[in-house]
């Protein structure tokens, strides 16, 4: 028979703080990131498969676009688009599926039994998703760079691209927040997530620059698609040779910065509202 060794247990009210301290926030946040990375390690086979399939997909796309040839003028723009697309695909899907999985198994409710506000945990999930997206995105980048270098080309690098890269990551966090919030209430919205990925693939300017699209499509893409302004800016810097402050395509630096902030703002507000609805309807743990 298993027994508990009686120790000085807590019987009366626990020591409480109405607002957790900064250390508790940091602890909870890093705890969530740590959990995400443990799950990433547990699913290493899946990551390995993605690290192979995504670069293959990229090379096949460039081949098809080049009518059976790897054309140099398509490789670099295509690579920049594909790395971004891989990133958003992985980040959104990992955040979404981890949330849905927790909901389906019922463990999500346990994660709500914390003194911390849920946004802390969502943020932790997002950071874990960003880190989890890196292996696939970096493998695409690596294969792309090797291909370009092998064909006698040069892979340019400019530290300025860190700004649009950050914009893509933050904008994607906003999108993931919206999708996770919708999942809390409407549950089976996998189709929306997958459809949105297809839309980003087409309308994000990953392979066809927005300038080559109809004006209305380009306008809506720049306005709504989290990766579109970022990809456009990266191409402008690395392919066009322009500086961050002198971007020639798109709506300029201000929109590259503002769009992810707006998307995160919408994501935070919407997630909070949908979470309230879920608490009211009792759908936090019901699938």
């Amino acid at each position: 028979m298993t027994t508990l060794t009686p120790t000085a247990g807590r019987t009366g009210p626990a020591n409480t703080a109405d607002r957790p301290g900064a250390a508790t926030y940091l602890n909870g946040f890093s705890n969530e990131v740590h959990k995400g990375l443990l799950n990433l390690r547990a699913g290493w086979r899946e990551v390995l498969i993605q690290m192979i399939t995504f670069p293959v997909f990229f090379l096949l796309l460039v081949l098809f676009m080049g009518r059976g040839q790897l054309r140099d003028e398509l490789l670099l723009p295509g690579l920049l688009g594909m790395v971004s697309l891989t990133f958003i695909h992985e980040q959104v899907n990992r955040a979404f599926w981890s949330y849905l999985g927790d909901m389906q198994s019922g463990v999500l409710e346990q994660t709500y039994l914390t003194p911390l506000p849920s946004w802390t945990l969502i943020l932790g999930r997002q950071v874990a998703a960003v880190v989890s997206a890196l292996p696939s995105a970096l493998s695409v980048l690596l294969v792309g760079v090797i291909t370009i270098e092998a064909r006698g080309g040069d892979m340019p690098f400019d530290v300025q691209i860190l700004v649009p890269l950050t914009s893509i990551v933050l904008g994607t966090c906003g999108l993931a927040l919206i999708l996770c919030g919708l999942t809390l209430v409407y549950k089976r919205i996998e189709i929306i997530t997958q459809f949105s990925m297809a839309v980003w693939f087409i309308a994000g300017g990953t392979f066809v620059p927005l300038d080559n699209m109809p004006d209305v499509t380009a306008f809506l893409s720049r306005l709504l698609v989290p990766i579109a302004p970022g990809i456009e800016a990266i191409r402008d810097i690395l392919v066009g040779g322009h500086s961050l402050t002198g971007l020639e395509t798109g709506w300029g630096l201000w929109w590259v910065i503002l769009q992810p902030i707006v998307l995160i703002g919408i994501g935070v507000v919407l997630f909070g509202r949908l979470e309230q609805v879920a608490r009211r309807r009792g759908t936090l743990g019901r699938y």
């Binding site: 298993t2 009366g12 602890n27 019922g106 911390l116 009792g282």
Partner: protein, 330 residues
Amino acid sequence: MSTQTQAPAGSDRPGAVTATPAIEISGLTKTYGSSDTPSVNNISLSVPAGTVFGFLGPNGAGKTTTIKILAGLLAATSGKTLLNGYDVTRRRSATMQQFGAVLEGSRNVYWTLSAWQNLLYFGRLKGMRGADARDRAEELLKGLDLWERRDEKVGGYSRGMQQKVAVAAALIADPPIVLLDEPTIGLDVEATRTVMEWIRTMARDRGKTVLLTTHQMNVVEELCDRVAVIRKGEVVADLPTDQLLAQFRERDKYEVRVEGNLPELSLPSGFTARSVEGTTIISGRVSDPQQVYTLVDRLRDQHAVVQSLSQVQPDLEDVFMGLIKAPAHD
């Protein structure tokens, strides 16, 4: 609806704190969506600290809804819930530090992580420092005989072991209140016994308040100081366990064994007969012992040979069935 209640008394267990009820529910109502029927209808309960409180009811009676409202996972339509005096809707952070919970029908812990990783995760989720969480996790895993297998994924454990990890995760931050929604569901006899022993230890030796729902009446009868029965969202009884049993003992059940298979016997109203292996067993509840003598006289008149006459004490299952089947009074 008539409700059998008595003001709860404080527990005399060591460490029990009785000044503020550990759990207090007043006028709680929950209606889902546009439904006309509330899942929980104006219920009020008060659980003194250090009590093991059995919250019973048939499926769909409103037990889980009540627990989820207590835990802040579900918003009430109206009413108030307090855990150690903290209102989850107003002081969520403080309330969350008052309890741990094992929720019904959920995995409760991550099956892709090991028991050790789960306990550290949930400990830090509850605001514990890493070192404290490790010490506590070690204590719990050793106490539950899981220490040797702490690094294995929970998904590979047996159902009983998984439930042990869920209980350990609920206790990781050493909360004064523990909410256990069907903690023994699906467990074999040994695992059920282990969880029961844990609950007993938590309450008797550590003074914790335990709110327990289960369909296993023997668990309730053995562990609970007090029992509330909920039916169709309304509390129909809320009494100390012994008083609840005593109250139903007033309408004791009698059993008379008669030689032979005699299904054609004429019996007074309220008694039924069944034949088992050459014996006729006649049973029924009586409000007046005279009814038993009437029965025996009637049997003698029919030349039946009475083998035995015994008084059958009601167990909690009888009480429970009586309460949930009793007609509702509006």
